[in-house]
Subunit: 263 residues, 2 copies
Amino acid sequence: MTSSSITAIHSRDNAWVKDLRRLAQDNGAYRKQGRVWLEGDHLCRAALERGVQPAVAVFAESLWPSAQVEWGQAAPKVVVLADALFADISGLESPAKMGFVLGLPEGRSPQPGMAAVVLDRVQDAGNVGSILRSASAFGFRQVLALKGSAALWSPKVLRAGMGAHFALDLVEGLAPEDLAGLHLPTLVTSSHQGDYLHRAELPWPCAWVMGHEGQGVSAVLQERASHHIRIAQPGGEESLNVGAAAAICLHASAAQRALQTGR
Amino acid sequence: MTSSSITAIHSRDNAWVKDLRRLAQDNGAYRKQGRVWLEGDHLCRAALERGVQPAVAVFAESLWPSAQVEWGQAAPKVVVLADALFADISGLESPAKMGFVLGLPEGRSPQPGMAAVVLDRVQDAGNVGSILRSASAFGFRQVLALKGSAALWSPKVLRAGMGAHFALDLVEGLAPEDLAGLHLPTLVTSSHQGDYLHRAELPWPCAWVMGHEGQGVSAVLQERASHHIRIAQPGGEESLNVGAAAAICLHASAAQRALQTGR
C-alpha cells in the first residue's frame, strides 16, 4: 500500500480551500472545476463500494486521528482542515467532518436500449435525488437530464441521492432531440389520457419521462411519447410530488417484470 | 359583503410584524402562536377551496393594487407591507408577495377505522409534504405524526404539502400507544420479511407506517405491525427515499381497491 501525502491547512485564504468552498456551496461549481465534492461517510463509502477512486480525502482535524485507520489510504492525497475551516466549507448545518474530492465522471451519451429515466427540467434537488434512488432500486440504469434540470452532481443532489449516483450512468444538458437515439418506448404520466397505471401493460425496457414540478412534461415530449399513463388518485385531483410519481411508475415497471418472470 | 379593515405597515419593529416573521421562519413558532402562515397564491387558494377562513390576508405593497380584486375580501383583516418588509418576513428566496395568517386548526384525535398514514419520526419537511400529498391523492384521510416528526404546520412542510394539509385530518405529537385506538391493521415496510408488495393482499382500510429517514420504523411499531411488506428492488439493495416508499405503498392500496371494485 502506498502512503498518502498529508497536508494540514488552517487558513481561510488558502486558494485550494477557497475553491473547495465554492465546490461545496455553489450548485454549478463542479462544471467549472471538473470535480465533485462528496460530504459525509455514507456518500464516501457508497462511492468507494462502486469502485470510485477519490482524488483527495478531506478531514476535520478533530476527526482525523480516529478516521485515519479506515480512511487514511482512501485517496492519494489527504487534507486535514481546522474544524472551523471544515465547518465553513461545508454546506451542511451539521458538517460531516469528512469528505472526498473526485474528478467529475466523464460525460456520457444516452445508451440505446438501456432502461432510462428522463428528467425534463425537474428543479428540486430533493426530488432529483429521490428519483435517482428509485431509478437505481428499480433497475433503470441510466438517468438522462434535459437542460434546465437541477445540476446532477451538485452537493444537494448528491446528498439526496444517497449514493445512487454511483450506480447509474448519468447524462445531463440534453435536448429533447437527443432522446431519439434511445430507441425505447417513451412513457409519460398524464392527468387526462391513456391507461391507468394499475391496468396498463408496460413495455420493457422503456424510458419514463418525469417533468418540471410546476409545468409537468413539455408539450414536445408529451407529443413524442409512445404511452400516456394515468395514476389513479381516488382521493381527489391533487397532483403528486414528482419524486412520488416517479417512484410509483418505476416500481410498477419493476413489479410487472417480476410478476411476468414469476418472482 | 362586509369590507375588510386595511392596515399598512412599514416598520420592521412593529410587534405584529415581528411575530409574523417568527411564524414564517421558525418551524415551531406556530405552536406557541396558535396560528399558521401560508405563503403564496397556490397555498392560499387551496385553503380557501377547502373552506378555510383566514384571519388576515397579507400583501406586499406592489401587489396589493392588482391583488385586491381577487383577494381583497378573503379575510376580515388585510395588512399591506412595504415590499422590503414582506421579503424580510418571507422565508422564501423569491417571496410570493401574498399570504394568509390562519388560526391553527384544532388538535384532533386519531379517528378509529379511518384509513391513515402514520409518520414515525419522519424528519425532512420535503418528505413529509410529499407524503401528505400522496395520502390525500390515494384516499388516506388522516395523517398521524408521532413525536419527533417534522412539525406538520411549519412553513416548509406547508409549502411541500401544496395544499394537502387542508384535505386531511392531521394529528401530531402522538405516542405509539395512541395508535391502539385506530382499530386498523397496521402495515410497515421491511427489507427482510413479509410479502412482496406486488404480490400482497392489502387490507382496507389500513394504516401504513412510514419511518425515520435513517433509522426506519421503530422496533415497537415493527413488533406491533400486523403486516410486514417488502418492496422488490431488482436494481440492488439501495433503500428508497421515504417519500418514494410511501407513494408506492399508498398507491398500491388504492390500485388494489380500484381493481377489486372493477375500476
